[in-house]
């Protein structure tokens, strides 16, 4: 049986400002959709589903490194709470076409798309968004700062142990240098030694998505994650943005503070295009063996 091709129009969008405008009503959940097209140097592709006058969905796919594509989607016409099946089907086709192996985003947006994808394994998480005026802990200012170029070797060591595992080792230094140049990393320091860090993964006009909070085991238990978290909030506050972060059940950050708003979040693992090709070939062989056409 062949799937009927969805009749809904799909178009490629290259204007990051247009994507940001379309996602404005769905932030901070749509931050991973609106941010990549606006990132300088990011290898991002963005599609808008639906009529040009009334788009119903957006999908952004980012090529992190060769062989690793991450996608995020947002459904725009969820007034009645039920997603449009044509839009969901079109977004699913786009996820396949992009070759994404990860689909990340708000559970209300990503969940329906993932439900139609074979082999998808979803992990429920939660996104915590915070107002700008939440109180800060007492001694945070002296124990941290925004990362400087001199911190890059220490940050590379730190992330090599914990974070940015998606990047190959030879690209990690360049990625960290880019983040530091854009002042997107905050660090906790003990004297001049970097003992913790967190970075802005994505940003929209009103929200910063902070990710990758890492403190080495030998420095844990000293409240350093709260220092890093406080600096992240200060940087976002100064920029006029709120802070958002994704928390897994096994992870304690972002910390609970007054003013948190919780959005359901999902990270969906998808089979790689190569695996899908192999599975199709295997299924074809099995079908021929038993005589099914």
């Amino acid at each position: 049986m062949v799937d009927a091709r969805p009749s809904i129009p799909v178009r490629r969008v290259r204007d990051g400002a247009q994507v940001e405008d379309l996602c404005a009503g769905h932030q901070p959940v749509a931050v991973l959709v609106s941010s990549p097209p606006n990132e300088p140097g990011a290898d991002a592709r963005c599609w808008v589903v639906g009529p040009p006058a009334e788009p119903t969905g957006i999908l952004t796919a980012v090529r992190v490194r060769p062989g690793l594509v991450t996608a995020s989607a947002v459904l725009l016409d969820d007034d009645d709470g039920t997603p449009d099946p044509d839009t969901v089907a079109a977004l699913g086709r786009l996820v396949r076409r992009s070759g994404a192996t990860r689909l990340v985003g708000g559970a209300d947006h990503v969940g329906p798309v993932a439900a139609g994808l074979a082999g998808a394994r979803s992990t429920p998480l939660e996104m915590l968004a915070r107002r700008q005026d939440a109180p800060l802990p007492g001694d945070w200012r002296a124990r941290g700062r925004v990362a400087r170029p001199a911190d890059e070797p220490a940050l590379v060591d730190l992330y090599r142990r914990f974070e940015l595992e998606a990047l190959a080792a030879d690209r990690l230094a360049a990625a960290v240098a880019g983040l530091v140049a854009q002042r997107r990393v905050v660090v906790a320091v003990d004297g001049d030694v970097v003992v913790g860090a967190q970075r802005i993964e994505a940003r929209s006009r009103r929200w910063d998505l902070w990710a990758g909070l890492s403190v080495p085991p030998e420095h844990r238990g000293r409240g350093l994650s709260r220092v890093v978290d406080a600096w992240a909030r200060e940087v976002s506050r100064a920029a006029g943005r709120g802070t958002a972060g994704v928390r897994a059940p096994t992870n304690q950050v972002p910390h609970d503070v007054p003013g948190l708003v919780v959005h359901p979040w999902a990270e969906v693992r998808l089979p790689s295009p190569a695996l899908r090709r192999r599975a199709r070939r295997w299924a074809g062989r099995q079908a021929r063996r038993v005589g099914v056409r």
């Binding site: 940001e20 606006n38 925004v146 400087r148 140049a181 854009q182 997107r184 506050r237």
Partner: protein, 308 residues
Amino acid sequence: MRRGTPVRRRVPAKVRLRVPVGSGRHVGVGSTPALEAAAEAGEPASTLVAGALRAGGWRQVVLTVEDHPGAVLGAVVVERHGRSRWEARPLVVDAGCAPLLARIVHLSPTRRVMGVGPHVAPLVAHLPRTRTVGRSAFYGAADKNAVPPSDLDPRSRAATPADLPALVALFADTYHLGRSRDRAAWTRLLRRTTAEGLVVVAEVDGRVVGGLLCGAVSRVWAFGTDAVIGAEHRGLGLSWAMANRMFALVLAYGLDMCGAQVDENPMDADRHYVDHEALTGELWGVGLDPHLRAVRRVARRVRRAGAL
């Protein structure tokens, strides 16, 4: 080897051109760590030079006057800021090299010389193409240990790359203080400064109506170079909102901030800086006539077109 095949000579990976100019002095091409250190040592008066060196790029030429051991006596960064808009930013360490720097500026296509008093004033007497000399108050205001402003106006925020089209339109169409209307040049400048996180916008009804940027940023100082608010939104207190937001950003990044009051700009920087008692000098802007060669070139084109 086949006849006629060019001989490929081995060239060291990094060769710096250094030309003797007499009296034991040399003019070197390109930036050096010694020059960057000299520029940073003189901040905030030399932040324009330090920021230009840090930004780099192929649209700028850096010429350094050095003595025989290689100590920096002075330097000038000549940068293309748009179509027919070349700007020179001098750095005078030893006043004796001012005539030589002025000669370099004169021979370059520079149309404007910018810098704080001690770095520009010694050159003015030796610049034959001088047309106008403007002076304005220069302030080194925030220090990184200051407490950032707590009551930040929600109408202002840091810019993101998605704001670039609106900002380019705003600056290129309504702001002409010494810069060109070249949209490509504005896009380049705003893209770089937005990536560094040092552009602030003012929003009214979800529309970007104002912008403030730090166009020269060194490791320690950020120079607030350009600010604009759309004509129909002036008088709403948006300049304060943007200036406070920029102060908070600069402090969060661990930098100090400096800036200047330009008479033609309706944004009243005096009011923003005077509370900090931070008046540290004068910012000089020297306008130069176009080079004779450029005038002749234009005349030749006009003559060919049959207009004369």
